[in-house]
Each structure stands twice: as structure tokens, then as C-alpha cells.
């Protein structure tokens, strides 16, 4: 997914493409989400949609909607292009963000 876009990446274990974070630069829970991933040493890629050009933002939202059948809210985390988490709820992330299950 989203292969045509230029992503920011955070270093860590695994491939950044396994964890894709859609965020807003002003959002507190988006910062919590990034800290969660970084505290666990996980590589991920991210974009802050409010900082994108309107056409690029629209493309990403449309691709998300086509794949998952709903509009993204922030943060949204896409796991291995197959699964998504909406919002930052630590218990859900603990269940679903499992480094051992991510594609290498």
C-alpha cells in the first residue's frame, strides 16, 4: 500500500513498511503512538497528513478507504498492509502490535 508516497521512517527492529502510521502533527495521541512504537524499538513509517499537499493527502485517505472501508482517524496504524488500528488504545496495541508476527 501507499507505495507511491515518500514516507518518514523511524529506525528499529523490522521493516518500516510493516507498520504504517497515519498521524496529524498536532495530535497528542499520535505522539503517544509514535512513542509507543519507539519505546519498543520497532521500525515504522509515518506521515503527518496535515502537513501534506491536499492532493497527496486525498490520495492516501482514498487508498485507506478503498482497502479498509472507512475513513482514517488519527492515529491510524496499518499492520503489514492487512490490518488496521484506529486511535491509540494501549491495550489494543499490546494485543495487535506483535513484533514476532510482523513480516520480516
Amino acid at each position: 500500500m501507499f507505495d507511491q508516497h515518500s514516507w518518514n521512517t523511524a529506525p528499529g527492529t523490522g521493516e518500516p513498511e510493516s507498520l504504517t502510521l497515519l498521524a496529524l502533527s498536532s495530535c497528542g495521541f499520535c505522539k503517544s503512538a509514535r512513542k509507543y512504537l519507539e519505546d519498543r524499538g520497532l521500525a515504522y513509517r509515518y506521515l503527518e497528513l496535515d502537513l501534506l499537499k491536499p492532493e497527496e493527502k486525498a490520495e492516501i485517505k482514498e487508498e485507506f478507504k478503498t482497502k479498509f472501508g472507512r475513513r482514517p482517524t488519527f492515529p491510524s496504524l496499518i499492520i503489514d498492509d492487512e490490518q488496521f488500528l484506529i486511535g491509540f488504545i494501549k491495550a489494543h496495541w499490546d494485543e495487535e502490535v506483535r513484533p514476532e508476527d510482523l513480516r520480516a
Binding site: 496529524l24 502533527s25 498536532s26 495530535c27 497528542g28 495521541f29 499520535c30 505522539k31 503517544s32 497528513l49 496535515d50 486525498a58 485517505k61 475513513r71 482517524t73 488519527f74 492515529p75 484506529i86 486511535g87 491509540f88 488504545i89 494501549k90
Partner: protein, 109 residues
């Protein structure tokens, strides 16, 4: 600018009987986020929602948003967790995302 934002959220909290986010680091990110949206759009757009950048279309999500009271009543804090109920603040629970109450059709395409 952030001191004006701090004053603004403190006044809102007092007038509505809400408590500001008690996690100080999280509160600072929200004040910074609100300051940023004010500078970008000219009004305090909710920092956790995507806006149109057009005041008329964003009216319901200008802080304090129209959904805050219902969210605080049901979940203990507003959508971005800037404002809390007294009970939630006393619980010392970490803030976490809550469901979006704003109708889908009001968001930008």
C-alpha cells in the same frame, strides 16, 4: 502564543467545570497542537481531527468542540483528552483514544 493558548484552555475548563489533562507532558503536547492549529487556521481547531481549514465547516470542532460535553460524560474526557471530568482526573487513568462522535459526512473527503 502558547501562553495565550494555556490561558484559553484554563478559562474553558473553569467555565465548563472540567479539569485539564493531568498528565503534564500530554497536556503540553495538546497546548502545542492547539497553538499550531490556531496559527495555521486562525482558530483553535481540535488538534486530533482533520479540519477543512474553513471556519464554517469546522465550526463544530473548534475547541471546545460540540461533542466534548457528551464525550466527557460518557468516556471521562473529550476526544483529544484535553478536558476531563473530575472523576476521570481523580482516577489517574492514562488518556486513550475514544470513538469519534462527529458524523462522518462532516469531515473533508
Amino acid at each position: 502564543m502558547s501562553s495565550k493558548t494555556r490561558d484559553f484552555v484554563q478559562k474553558v475548563a473553569i467555565s465548563r467545570g472540567w479539569i485539564l489533562q493531568s498528565d503534564q507532558a500530554f497536556l503540553e503536547t495538546l497546548i502545542a497542537g492547539l497553538t499550531q492549529t490556531k496559527e495555521s487556521y486562525g482558530y483553535y481547531l481540535c488538534p486530533c481531527r482533520e479540519g477543512w481549514g474553513i471556519r464554517e465547516k469546522d465550526r463544530d470542532i473548534i475547541c471546545p468542540c460540540e461533542y466534548a460535553a457528551a464525550d466527557i460524560e460518557e468516556f471521562g474526557h473529550c476526544y483529544c483528552a484535553l478536558f476531563q471530568s473530575k472523576d476521570y482526573a481523580s482516577s489517574k487513568k492514562a488518556p486513550q483514544s475514544i470513538p469519534e462522535r462527529r458524523p462522518d459526512e462532516l469531515f473533508p473527503d
